[in-house]
């Protein structure tokens, strides 16, 4: 009997025996999913037909309306089937809730990752694996696009399919990869970092994970429907009234992904505010915790706006409302204002956790305290506040009120100041350090240098006259990829490599990790740097065809992008093989000070066998005798030493 099985049996002592025979259909899990989904499908269909019949709306059988309703009903059926609502439903109808036997805690075989699970560590891994799946899917759409763009003229796909490719590429990368991948890393690490046994609301945590596959599959199905060819920005009226049903799949996909991210953010906020270990004051929190705290605030404040914009767009499409229909007095630019009021803060939702990861990694591998820790935390808060005042810089050429441009330009360039503070502080953290160039550190340094380029091209875009010239061109494509690929993705890679030993209990292959970094770094720059030039010279974005004079550079970019795509295979191979057969990882392979490294790899089911007492800052490298936290056992030892 392995110790894991023993722990499992100990935890489950006294739990009800697993159901047998047909009763297994009633137990939460994959057997309940099909019939629950069918049941909810029927309920959705029934209500729709009944309402249409009662109101006398013809035709009573309207495929568009039914599909839209089912995009809400069937996911609820799926979530109910998998067991996302069991506890609450039992509680609400007065049935005895299952005793807290923690049967939903911990993973003892690979099957446990495919069940509803309330352990934040399991959920974190579920998040990461799911988001990497969507990352690969979205990357594949990019490969098809680059194949089409390798030569001028049309070769492989039609115009509409091309439009759908880049729309789904961005939608998946943003809503199903970057945002939830950070949520997944945070999910795993944050409770450990603050010395908590789990997240504040484990059941809500599980539910917010299971919304993700729902959202992702809905977005992917927009290819089949088809018709989501209006870009991830979904501008009205193109998306609201000039697209086929696929656009509704985007609208609803965003709702599910958005609901997931709001619930996770609330969970993070409550966890960070209420569940810190004794002594873990706000000024002793690791910067990743600060970053997730700030990000969560952004999410809960901003995400309802994109939800609103997508509902309005969908209502225009399906219910013939006139929010953005100018012929009936609707306000076309209203969509953009509401959309960007979310989607600009969303840029920081996709970046601040990366800042946090970079701080952890750079401090640990430079063996130095973070330079200007308090200013680092305060600059996050500054970005949070300023982030809500810059949305209209996406709209300098949109035809909005002209006076709005200069104030928005000023706030947009000012937000570069707190961002600059962070970059300079990382650089100063390197200074006089003892730099270890493990894979996480390489990705963190790659992030700093690439993000500087992305930040500087951001200044170009904030300056109104330049923006007027390069807006909606490949310059913007280059900028967004330097920020989201060079920024977010590099830090996600840094984070995955950094915490891989903690999560899996095994070390990854360092040589393959470094190879992955260099291939990615070179492929990334070769792919995206020339796009600046294309954009300034006159190539608009989101086109399936282009002027022949851009042919050579586009061919080069396509080749480079295939190289970049192939570099991901090295990452996958390393992750899969190391997870299965890597060398066992010690508890603290990086000699880091933060709490997650003070427990075994992987950590015990409830993280800490005893609650740590935090006594100092998280990055006191090089300070003689400095401790971030002490455990009871340590104190006993120290006292004994004193006695001796």
């Amino acid at each position: 009997v392995t110790s894991a099985t023993a722990a499992h049996e100990e935890l489950h002592a006294g739990a009800a025996p697993p159901p047998h025979g047909w009763r297994r259909l009633l137990a939460p899990g994959w057997l309940r999913v099909p019939w629950m989904s069918a049941l909810f499908f029927g309920i959705g269909l029934g209500i729709t037909l009944l309402v249409r019949w009662a109101e006398g709306w013809h035709p009573i059988w309207d495929g568009q309306v039914i599909t839209t309703v089912e995009l809400t009903a069937v996911p609820f059926g799926f979530l109910a089937g998998i067991g996302g609502f069991d506890y609450w439903v039992r509680y609400a109808i007065g049935s005895p809730t299952r005793p807290e036997d923690h049967s939903g805690h911990g993973a003892y075989s690979w099957r446990d990752y495919f069940r509803i699970n309330t352990d934040h560590k399991v959920i974190g891994v579920q998040y990461l694996v799911t988001t990497i799946f969507f990352f690969l899917a979205a990357g594949l759409t990019a490969m098809i696009m680059r194949a089409e763009l390798a030569r001028p003229g049309m070769q492989y796909v039609g115009n509409q399919v091309f439009n759908e490719l880049f729309s789904v590429h961005a939608a998946l990368m943003i809503f199903l990869f970057i945002i939830p991948a950070f949520a997944g890393l945070g999910n795993y690490v944050i409770p450990l970092m603050i010395g908590a046994p789990d997240m504040a609301f484990p059941r809500l945590n599980a539910l917010s994970f299971w919304l993700l596959p729902v959202a992702g599959l809905i977005m992917l199905s927009s290819f089949i429907v088809p018709g989501f060819g209006c870009g991830w920005t979904g501008y009205a009226p193109l998306c609201s009234t000039h697209q086929e049903l696929g656009a509704v799949f985007f609208n609803m996909g965003v709702q599910w992904a958005g609901a997931s991210s709001i619930m996770t953010a609330l969970n993070f906020l409550v966890t960070i505010i209420t569940m810190r270990a004794p002594g873990m004051t706000f000024w002793r929190m690791p910067l990743l915790v600060w970053a997730n705290f700030t990000t969560s605030l952004l999410v809960v404040i901003a995400t309802p706006f994109i939800a609103g914009s997508q509902f309005m767009s969908m209502f225009d499409h399906i219910m013939h409302t006139n929010f953005f229909n100018y012929e009936a007095g609707g306000y076309v630019l209203g969509y953009q204002h509401i959309f960007w009021f979310y989607s600009h803060p969303a840029v920081y939702i996709m970046m601040l956790p990366g800042f946090g990861i970079a701080s952890e990694v750079i401090s640990t591998f430079a063996r130095k305290p973070i330079f200007g820790y308090r200013l680092m935390a305060l600059s996050l808060m500054a970005i949070l506040v300023l982030g809500f005042s810059v949305w209209a810089h996406h709209m300098f050429v949109s035809g909005m009120a002209p006076w709005l441009r200069v104030p928005m330009m000023v706030t947009s360039v000012v937000i570069a100041v707190p961002t600059g503070i962070k970059v300079f502080s990382w650089l100063a953290t390197l200074w006089e350090g003892k730099l270890n160039f493990s894979t996480p550190m390489l990705f963190a340094l790659g992030f700093v240098s690439m993000f500087v380029i992305g930040g500087l091209s951001g200044i170009y875009l904030a300056a109104v006259p330049i923006d007027i010239h390069v807006s909606d061109t490949y310059f913007v494509v280059a900028h967004i990829h330097y920020v989201l690929f060079g920024g977010s993705l590099f830090t996600i890679f840094a984070g995955i490599y950094y915490w891989f030993p903690k999560m899996t209990g095994r070390m990854y292959d360092e040589r393959l990790g470094k190879l992955h970094f260099w291939l990615t770094f070179i492929g990334f720059n070769a792919t995206f740097f020339p796009m600046h030039y294309l954009g300034i010279q006159g190539m608009p974005r989101r086109v399936s065809d282009y002027a022949p004079r851009f042919a050579d550079l586009n061919f080069f970019i396509s080749i480079a992008s295939f190289f970049l795509g192939a570099s991901t295979l090295v990452f996958l191979y390393n992750m899969i093989v190391s997870w299965a057969r890597g060398a066992p990882a010690p508890g603290n392979p990086w000699r880091a000070h933060t709490l997650e490294w003070q427990v075994s790899s992987p950590p015990p089911v409830f993280n800490f066998d005893e609650i740590p007492q935090v006594v100092g800052g998280p990055y006191e490298y090089g300070v003689p005798g400095a401790r971030h936290a002490v455990f009871n056992g340590d104190r006993v030892v120290e006292e004994e030493e004193v006695k001796v």
Binding site: L375, G399, L430, E432, I466, G622
Partner: protein
């Protein structure tokens, strides 16, 4: 360089977590006066500056030798280019600084293979932190000021200017000149050195008008009028590009902007007016048909000699009889069907769904006139 935390080791051990762990430098040669700032020795500084200058040189070479900007063809583009180079100068300086510190650190502070020791416990430096908050703030303020001035100048509209109305629809442009009795054409013709105000409308979804060489761009939004100011300063023919995703044919929504000498422009206007007049008096009664052809933007996508259009997005309408033969339909019937239901027959080499299906709502009288004009009265 020797860095030493303040206080005795005993005091540090007592309370190692107090904030503001100030450091001083023990170095034989401090940078004159700024002892608090001086966390680097002069020798280090010299090497750092050398790496920075090398990085700046490389970045400047990339900026200088690559012809980044299209040759400006308007006065507005000149100002945009100025702002561009202003921001580029600042960017190169910052980029060089960052690269220098990273490269220097990577080379100089690399830990040895078995070196498990920690770096210097430097927690911060208030002077330095204030400096890298204040200096970027000043720089970005300068960018904002320069940009605001350039923007105001670029949007200045003198009393004497030409007005052109721009109409965009999926997926074509049309330009009309109120000054010349509403003369409507599919390519933008502009006289040299005369400021022009484009007043822009869209029929269906959002489009965006951009001529890279003019530097100016503006969305065309259904329901509102947007405007953009251009003062052409170089003769030539430039692409008009739609830069806002507007549907399936977005990549094909192109036209031309032609900058002509004022005399040539006047002659062109005369010729167009004469052609319109003769067409309306012609025996075939092309007049109303031509007007429908132009006002619906047909000339934005199709070549058709009688209308003087030469766009190549859609099939060449001079070959309509040949298309009708291939479709196996009588000419007039085929033309009418192709207008109201464009996907009914797709000529080889072209794609379905590019031509909007909105023309089925044309009034019958206009449709008749258009068919008459396109077929030249033939059946």
């Amino acid at each position: 360089v020797a860095l030493r935390p303040l206080g005795t080791p005993a005091a540090r051990a007592k309370n190692p977590f107090r904030k503001g762990f100030v450091t001083v430098v023990r170095s034989r040669r401090l940078l004159g006066g700024f002892s608090r700032l001086a966390i680097v020795r002069r020798g280090v500084l010299v090497r750092l500056v050398a790496v920075g200058l090398a990085a700046a040189a490389v970045a400047s070479a990339v900026a200088y030798f690559v012809p980044w900007l299209p040759t400006p063809a308007s006065k507005q583009a000149d100002r945009i280019d100025f702002v561009f180079w202003f921001v580029t100068g600042i960017s190169i300086a910052i980029f060089a600084l960052v690269v220098a510190v990273i490269l220097y650190s990577v080379a100089r502070f690399r830990a040895g293979p078995d070196d498990d020791s920690d770096g210097a416990p430097i927690h911060g430096n208030t002077t330095l932190e204030i400096a890298w908050t204040a200096v970027p703030a000043v720089l970005v303020t300068a960018v904002a000021v320069v940009s605001a001035v350039a923007l105001a100048q670029n949007e200045h509209l003198p009393k004497n200017h030409l007005q052109v109305n721009v109409l965009a629809q999926q997926f074509a442009w049309s330009f009309s000149y109120p000054k010349y009795k509403g003369l409507t054409v599919s390519a933008l013709h502009l006289p040299l050195d005369e400021t022009v105000e484009l007043k822009m409308h869209s029929k269906d979804v959002i489009h965006s008008f951009w001529v890279p060489q003019f530097g100016q761009k503006q969305d065309l939004v259904p329901g509102i009028t947007t405007r953009v100011v251009i003062t052409p300063k170089r003769l030539g023919t430039y692409p008009v590009v739609c830069t806002e995703l507007c549907g399936e044919g977005h990549a094909l929504m192109r036209s031309e902007a032609i900058v002509m000498k004022p005399t040539a422009f006047a002659a062109w206007v005369k010729a167009q007016e004469r052609a319109a007049a003769s067409a309306s008096q012609g025996p075939s009664g092309a007049g109303p048909g031509l007007a429908v052809f132009n006002s619906n933007g047909c000339s934005g996508c199709h070549t058709f000699k009688p209308a003087g259009s030469s766009a190549t997005t859609g099939p060449d309408l001079d070959n309509l009889p040949a298309y009708a033969r291939r479709a196996g339909k009588p000419l007039a019937l085929f033309v009418r069907e192709s207008i109201v239901d464009p996907n009914a027959y797709i000529e080889k080499g072209y794609q379905p769904n590019i031509m909007p299906s909105t023309f089925k709502s044309l009034p019958k009288q206009q449709l008749d006139a258009l068919v008459q004009f396109l077929t030249g009265g033939k059946k």
